[in-house]
Symmetry: D2
Subunit: 148 residues, 4 copies
């Protein structure tokens, strides 16, 4: 893996995170696209994800957005975690819906960064998420041997 | 059930919501306290809830807070849903941690209301959540016969 | 003014709002660009806008972003107001800085909409703002005679 | 000034900040109450503060809340600034309204803290604000001679 190849770094970090991301895998998420500063994940709403209103519990919609955010903000090497997140719900999710979360970088400044995540179902916006990340030290590339 | 007894209404609404809340039950949440405008729920972090950093995925912490918020904002009869939520993470959650989410009403104004949810583990703050709810019409008491 | 010409509508609404917007004018803001769903305003930080840290008081940076948001979310005719806003401060503003706020539409759904506003100084990001608007009934075009 | 007297420290920090807070003074704010972790400020809405809807521009309501937040989060000695803030508008402000902003501490964890600010007019809630502060190093007490 060439640490100067931003796309290779993004894929490497995603693979390393994914290996231990029991939460995202247990929820049936898939990583559909990863690139420097961006990630797209999807997940199908199951009956077990519904709340007392019969629609997708906001926690699961949030979790999908949060995972897309996490893969995007960890795509450049340095380890980062969510400091603060905000979500607005525009439409309810229903069992069977395939939700697609697309995270894009808004700004990076020092150890802080902001990402917007759009959660859509067949093109219609289900939720808009904004996440603030902070680097915590260390890199997903630590210990990776330099290329020859 | 006496609709003029606010505590009885809160318990009735919680029971009605809980019956269909597959999400909260699947995650192992319990309702520890319910009263008009407030609710306390708890949940244990399981290994399946961990992310690539080995700590509780933010989505699960959010889900617990979101459920406490939902039970609190539906505790007076009218059906309400989350419009927008914000969460700040103060400390990581670990497998085995018993997280306790306490939702309290900040303000109600017309069909809108705001609730703060404190998520703690053994007294230490794990996350602070603020949720904005909006009434969607209808009541959990619809169809309930009036008392004699 | 042709109500079918979206750009003409945006300019008409902006002019109507601006006429009564004592706040934005008192603060020395200028509207640099207006178009359907977007607006760009700028303002110079004055010594009177500084706080106890000697930097621009967050309220003024917020006010500039909020005005850009207001002109953008009122650019299509229907009257809309801010329901909820969030701002993250990335760099301090200093006396003499010319701040530029660019508002862009993220999503519209029914009477709700979300806008992101980037506040920059000479290209560097000073603040990121996200605003949620709600239509309140009525239009800036009410009473405007239809074109021949 | 006894640095072990929390109330004296709060008053000392407030006086030091206020001396250079041109923004809050220019807007006609007054500090009505200061104590460790809390502050209450008030401000009258003037005609110059109105927007195109004829109501108080959100930026001024935000500025009042932001100042209350700033005095509260700087009341213990260490210098702190706003990292991120959120405001929800519940009722419009009108010219002549005396707005009262009360900031209370929600949580402190390391260098981070969260404050809630309630903005009211004659008891009715006008806005709810939540601010996240971060300590930036240094203290308002630096250079203050120790008591005998």
């Amino acid at each position: 893996m060439d640490p100067n190849d931003a796309q290779a770094v993004a894929e490497f970090c995603a693979a390393a995170m994914w290996a231990d991301d029991h939460a995202s895998r247990t929820l049936g998420m898939t990583i559909d696209r990863i690139a420097p500063g961006t990630a797209e994940l999807s997940m199908t709403v199951t009956p077990a994800m519904t709340n007392g209103h019969g629609t997708a519990h906001g926690g699961y919609i949030f979790a999908l957005a949060d995972s897309a955010f996490a893969f995007a903000c960890n795509s450049r090497g340095p380890r980062a975690v969510a400091a603060q997140c905000q979500v607005a719900y525009l439409r309810p999710g229903r069992p069977g819906d395939r939700l697609v979360a697309t995270a894009v970088e808004v700004v990076r400044e020092g150890r802080s960064s902001i990402y917007d995540v759009h959660v859509r179902c067949e093109g219609a916006v289900v939720a808009e998420f904004r996440g603030h990340a902070r680097q915590i030290g260390g890199s997903w590339l630590d210990g990776v041997p330099a290329p020859d």
